[in-house]
């Protein structure tokens, strides 16, 4: 039966997750140069448009219709059979469409996360093609595998509360694939472009943090104790992640930066995502403290060493943070907290850690391969990059015939 309290919670959580895509747009948009911010904002906005439609037309069906290990099938195409009564296999106390639209917002933001990797140099037409293909052939299957009835990682017993594998590892490794395929921005190297509007980065971080309460605590699909636990550990991991990154910078560079604190907060949010319904407060602190160490290393040590141009660190934050979170779930999960979950290594069940490893590995391999293939395909058919002159002029003018800011008046 539909419970109004649970429904209210899932609806507002859906709104919060929707707000994360504009949040991400400002988070990323503040980081690029003035001439490219509209490129970022537009990619995020169009992802929201295109993928909202893809989801109700067939994405939801591919992901959640009861089906094979990898593929939900086409039974629920156009939402046929997806009504206003609960569908108990997913959520017993809210209308089925509430579950559908909540999940839809995940399907929107996940591909949008990849934008950070190829920022400042990708053609808009190619972006639309890519995002649609990626959602259909990477997001939907991985989502089904982990969360769909019959999904093979779900059957395996992999725990992913709100999207460590489905969202962050998946998008993060795709980010690496795309960064490698598209290649570096021209003329960077000696002097890296500097974020053109740090307050926008902070605004984006704030909206992401706020929205993440819906992302994680909404994933309980009810306004219950598990939702409250998820809310509390989400906030805690964000806080420890933000503090931790700032402290690492303080020790290493002499000063903590706003950019660092924002990055750390987001990393903490990423890492707690798969664990939020399964771990309690002390593990959340540990997860948050360590994720910034891992991500900072990826971003400030590994990336410069290998020289790939993951422009806004979509791989360095989401894949690295998501992997740590998924594995940490295998360490810290506790059935005492959530009987629907499992015990992790530290609660006497090393098996779970191995399952988590397997789920991470499977996601990494599939997503890396499929994302690279799709991206390459788009390159061949449409061409990924704007030409050098356009890159110099910026995406705003060349892809959208607009400027972000006027200089006069």
């Amino acid at each position: 039966m539909v419970n109004p309290g649970d429904t209210a919670w899932v609806l507002i959580s859906t709104g919060l997750v929707m707000l994360m895509t504009p949040g991400l747009a400002f988070f990323y948009g503040g980081m690029v140069r003035k001439k490219n911010i509209l490129g970022i904002l537009m990619q995020c906005l169009i992802a929201l448009c295109v993928l909202s439609i893809q989801w109700v037309l067939f994405g939801y069906s591919l992901s959640f219709a009861p089906g094979e290990g990898f593929w939900g099938g086409l039974d629920w195409v156009g939402l046929s059979g997806v009504g206003l009564e609960p569908y108990a296999d997913y959520a017993a106390t809210i209308p089925h469409q509430a579950f559908m639209i909540f999940q839809g917002m995940f399907a929107v933001i996940t591909p949008a996360l990849i934008i950070g990797a190829f920022a400042e140099r990708m053609k808009f037409s190619a972006f639309i093609a890519f995002v649609l293909l990626w959602a259909t052939f990477v997001y939907d299957p991985v989502c089904h595998a982990v969360w769909g009835v019959g999904g093979f990682l779900r059957e395996l017993g992999a725990l992913d509360f709100a999207g460590g594998t489905v969202v962050h590892i998946n998008a993060g490794i795709a980010a690496l694939a795309t960064a490698l395929v598209i290649g570096k921005r021209t003329n960077i190297g000696k002097s890296m472009p500097v974020p053109h509007n740090m307050p926008f980065v902070v605004l984006g971080t704030a909206l992401l943090w706020f929205g993440w309460f819906g992302f994680n605590a909404g994933s309980a699909l009810a306004a219950n104790g598990i939702a409250v636990n998820a809310f509390v550990v989400t906030n805690t991991a964000a806080a420890t992640g933000g503090l931790s990154w700032a402290l690492i910078e303080w020790l290493r560079n002499g000063k903590p930066t706003v950019f660092g604190a924002c990055s750390g907060a987001v990393a903490g949010l990423v890492a707690i995502t798969p664990a939020a319904g399964f771990v309690s407060i002390i593990p959340a602190i540990v997860i948050g403290l360590l994720v910034s160490l891992f991500c900072f290393t990826a971003v400030s040590v590994i990336k410069p060493k290998f020289g790939y141009d993951d422009s806004l660190d979509a791989f360095g934050v989401h894949c690295v943070g998501g992997t740590w979170g998924a594995l940490a779930t295998g360490l810290f999960a506790s059935k005492a907290l959530n009987p629907a979950g499992a015990d992790g290594l530290f609660f006497g069940n090393p098996q779970q850690f191995l399952i988590q490893l397997a789920a991470v590995g499977a996601t990494l391999v599939y997503s890396l391969a499929a994302s690279a293939a799709i991206y390459k395909l788009v390159d061949i058919v449409i061409g990924l990059r704007v030409d050098e002159k356009q890159e110099a002029m910026g995406l705003d003018l060349t892809q959208h015939h607009e400027r972000a800011y006027t200089v006069l008046e």
């Binding site: 890296m192 500097v194 910078e249 290493r252 560079n253 930066t257 950019f259 900072f296 400030s300 660190d313």
Partner: protein, 113 residues
């Protein structure tokens, strides 16, 4: 007539303006510029990437004066802008053969003030 161009530290603008008013130089044009000089910038750090912020924010003044006001103007700027540390800036003096007041069409020395 002369055109005086001065590059100064941003936080010295108020003081320079005051000194100029004392010297009865009231008409000025101000803009924001970035300068690279002897002064070393603070290193900026963005996600670990260090930028030796080699362009520092400066203020550029442009002041057209009659010849007899040149020295007072230069002295006023110097008084207001000087801290004795690198980065204090420079004053450039150009010849100004002609000056027109748009409102009245006046030209020359009388149009300057």
């Amino acid at each position: 007539m002369k055109l005086v161009i001065a590059i100064i530290q941003p936080h010295k603008l108020e003081q320079v303006k005051e000194e100029l008013y004392k010297a009865e130089v009231n008409l000025i044009t101000v803009s924001e510029v970035l300068g690279h000089g002897r002064q070393k910038g603070v290193t900026e750090v963005y996600r670990g990437a260090k930028e030796t912020g080699n362009l520092l924010r400066k203020i550029r003044l442009e002041i057209a004066v009659n010849d007899n006001f040149l020295e007072p103007t230069v002295r006023a700027i110097t008084r207001g802008a000087k801290t004795g540390e690198t980065g204090d800036g420079k004053i450039f003096v150009l010849d100004l053969p002609e000056c027109i007041r748009i409102r009245t069409g006046e030209t020359g020395g009388v149009a300057i003030g």
